[in-house]
């Protein structure tokens, strides 16, 4: 058995779909998949098309690229265009538009912007280029934050003074809470993120059933993982239970990764508030460097505009991120906003709901509409 299993066995999928159909009956259920990785799998494998109409999946804010507000991109560009700076970033941040263009355009204007796979690569560049100031654009949930924390510890240990981090790490629990309190949306349960939970464990989600009366099932990223998690949610509802359950015990443990959590606590502290694209300001939802790491904090080292930039009026990423509308219901989807020329962040990242739908689900839907079939 492989362990991030390609759970794609058609017979097993058919059995699960039958079970889901039977459990759902004539009622209508709306579940949110929190993680962008789930959204990607759902569109890529056409899961929406095999589910009964009584089960609706709503795509949540779990793509770290999609939730970064435009103002922070402008701040990143300002740092990147500072003299002698080498600005490093994951590849998917390069085309995210801010108010003043994106990082690729800054690179075209002459800024030294490079993409890296890991913050450790950025630290290596700093060690090899002592005459340059290397900044890492840190983005991601609790899955990626440990790698940034580890890098900062190494930078401090080896006294790499020309390395700093522009920290935009976010945490998964506050946006779930914000969505639960949103009047726009009525959900029946959540598919919890698999990989984030390898770090944070299952405990942080307990408030979802305890305070809001909604079940949550942590799920892996293969099609059968998702179908099984949906079935588990429905079983809970039909049995009158409301718990946090783990569909993916092969990677997610109850306590997560305690060593990684200790490391996060050592390096980061919670910001009082942070702006999420589409969700607005959410208190204690993002991480910043502790004062002990001030020497490596790019926000203290460089002057950034720090201006809040409103999303383009035509862009409805906010509603998509909250699951209020589907990607194709956005006014600019597939016309002005495409993966080549994205207006909103949801169209940039491969985990963004719009990009996933554009790449995998669009033609199926268009064909179904043309043939007069239900979509």
């Amino acid at each position: 058995m492989r362990f991030v299993d390609e759970y794609r066995d058609p017979a097993a999928a058919r059995a699960l779909v039958s079970q889901i159909t039977e459990l759902a009956g004539d009622d209508h259920f709306k579940f949110m998949e929190v993680c962008g990785g789930h959204t990607h799998t759902i569109y890529r494998h056409g899961i929406e098309h095999v589910l009964p109409p009584s089960v609706e999946l709503v795509h949540g804010p779990g793509c770290p690229v999609c939730v970064i507000p435009m103002g922070r991109i402008d701040d990143a560009i300002a740092v990147a265009e500072t003299r002698d700076v080498v600005f490093t970033s994951f590849g998917d941040m390069m085309r995210v538009p801010g108010g003043e263009g994106n990082l690729l355009q800054a690179k075209a204007r002459g800024a030294d912007v490079r993409f890296v796979y890991s913050p450790l690569d950025a630290l290596r560049i700093a060690v090899e280029s002592p005459d340059r100031d290397v900044v890492f654009f840190a983005v991601g949930f609790e899955t990626t934050a440990p790698s940034t924390a580890l890098t900062l510890l190494q930078a401090r240990e080896h006294n790499v003074t020309n390395f700093s981090v522009f920290c935009n790490h976010v945490t998964i629990v506050p946006p779930i809470k914000a969505i639960l309190e949103s009047p726009d949306l009525r959900l029946d349960g959540f598919l919890g993120p698999g990989h984030v939970s390898t770090v944070v464990g299952q405990r942080p989600y307990r408030f979802v059933p305890a305070q809001y009366g909604k079940p949550l099932v942590t799920a892996g990223f293969e099609p059968l993982d998702i179908l099984q998690a949906i079935a588990m949610l429905l079983v809970q509802i039909r049995e009158g239970r409301c718990d946090v359950e783990n569909q993916s015990p092969r990677v997610v443990k109850e306590d997560g990764n305690p060593r990684a959590l200790r490391l996060l606590a050592e390096v980061f502290e919670l910001r009082p508030h942070f702006e999420w694209r589409g969700l607005g300001f959410i208190s204690q939802s993002a991480l910043k460097l502790r004062p002990e790491f001030a020497a490596h904090d790019a926000e203290l080292r460089y002057s950034v505009p720090g201006v809040r930039v409103a999303d383009p009026k035509a862009c409805q990423c906010g509603e998509v991120l909250k699951g209020v509308i589907k990607p194709w219901e956005c006014k600019v989807f597939g016309t002005a906003c495409t993966p080549e020329t994205p207006i909103g962040t949801c169209m940039v990242s491969s985990e963004g709901a719009c990009a996933a739908y554009y790449n995998f689900g669009r033609l199926h839907r268009e064909a179904a509409v043309a043939l007069g079939r239900p979509v």
Binding site: M1, G91, V116, S349
Partner: protein
């Protein structure tokens, strides 16, 4: 099921009787043929192994490598026999290759081989009969569910499967359009997702909490200080150059539920 009531698949096929194409394993066989034809078209080699029945491993390799029909291309396939099957295939296979194994679901040698396919960047194809491996045990599981494995191996049912695999692979080659895969990426930026997790196999444990791992068939150095000590051969989940969990640990939990895993692997780990 008694022997007399078993569907005589191979005999039916040889006699020209109608075979139920709606049932497994035929659909998966077609997908597997398409998949490996595309890999062969991109210069793959197929490494074939059957620890339980080595002659099947040799047979399927010969089947692919000799152009029995004039005008058909020979497809590179090699039989691998070793007491350390994982080590041998790890040494030989390159990213993009195919690993074909013939064996029962409870053969730990095949299980260990197949679960490393992602880390090595190869396509895994598992042919067998009897109780089926867990869903997702390989990229393609081509299986006779209702048959006794030993009987099928002897009678020729498994031979039928890999003969058809060979035939269908050549059918794909007759339609070059089917060989086209996604266009190569021409984007100006490699989209390295900020939140992507990948499976990797530890190759060498280095000092300073680092390890050299195989991820999608390529060696890279990652940090393993956030997980319990690893050893070569362990599988880990890597995010942004740092291992955040080890499947060796998860394996014990996963296999603590007999519904989820194979017993032989559990015994080995214990």
């Amino acid at each position: 099921m008694t022997e007399s009531t078993r569907p005589d698949t191979f005999a039916d096929a040889r006699a020209g009787a109608r075979v139920d194409v709606s049932a497994d394993p035929w659909t998966e066989l077609a997908f597997a043929s398409l998949s490996i034809a595309r890999r062969f078209a991109a210069s793959a080699t197929m490494w074939c192994a059957s620890p339980q029945w080595p002659s099947h491993g040799r047979h399927v390799a010969v089947e692919f490598v000799h152009p029995v029909i004039v005008g058909k291309r020979a497809l590179p396939a090699v039989s691998v026999e070793s007491t350390d099957l994982v080590g041998a295939v790890r040494l030989l296979a390159r990213p993009g290759d195919v690993v074909l194994a013939i064996g029962t679901a409870d053969d730990p040698r095949v299980t260990r081989l197949m679960k490393r396919a992602d880390a090595w960047g190869v396509t895994g194809l598992w042919i067998g009969a009897g109780p089926r491996p867990p869903a997702g045990a390989a990229d393609h599981v081509v299986w006779f569910d209702g048959l006794d494995a030993t009987f099928s191996a002897r009678r020729g049912d498994l031979v039928l499967l890999y003969h058809l695999l060979w035939e269908l692979t050549h059918v794909v080659f007759e339609h070059p359009g089917l060989l086209a895969v996604d266009a190569p990426c021409t984007d100006d930026v490699c989209v390295t997702c900020s939140d992507e997790g990948r499976v990797a196999e530890v190759a060498v444990v280095l000092d300073g909490g680092r390890a050299e791992v195989l991820a999608a068939g390529h060696l890279e150095t990652i940090d393993v200080s956030l997980i319990d000590p690893v050893a070569p051969g362990d599988l880990v989940l890597v995010h942004a150059g740092v291992a955040i969990t080890s499947f060796s640990e998860a394996r014990r939990e996963a296999f603590s539920d007999p519904q989820r895993g194979d017993v032989s692997e559990r015994k080995r780990d214990e």
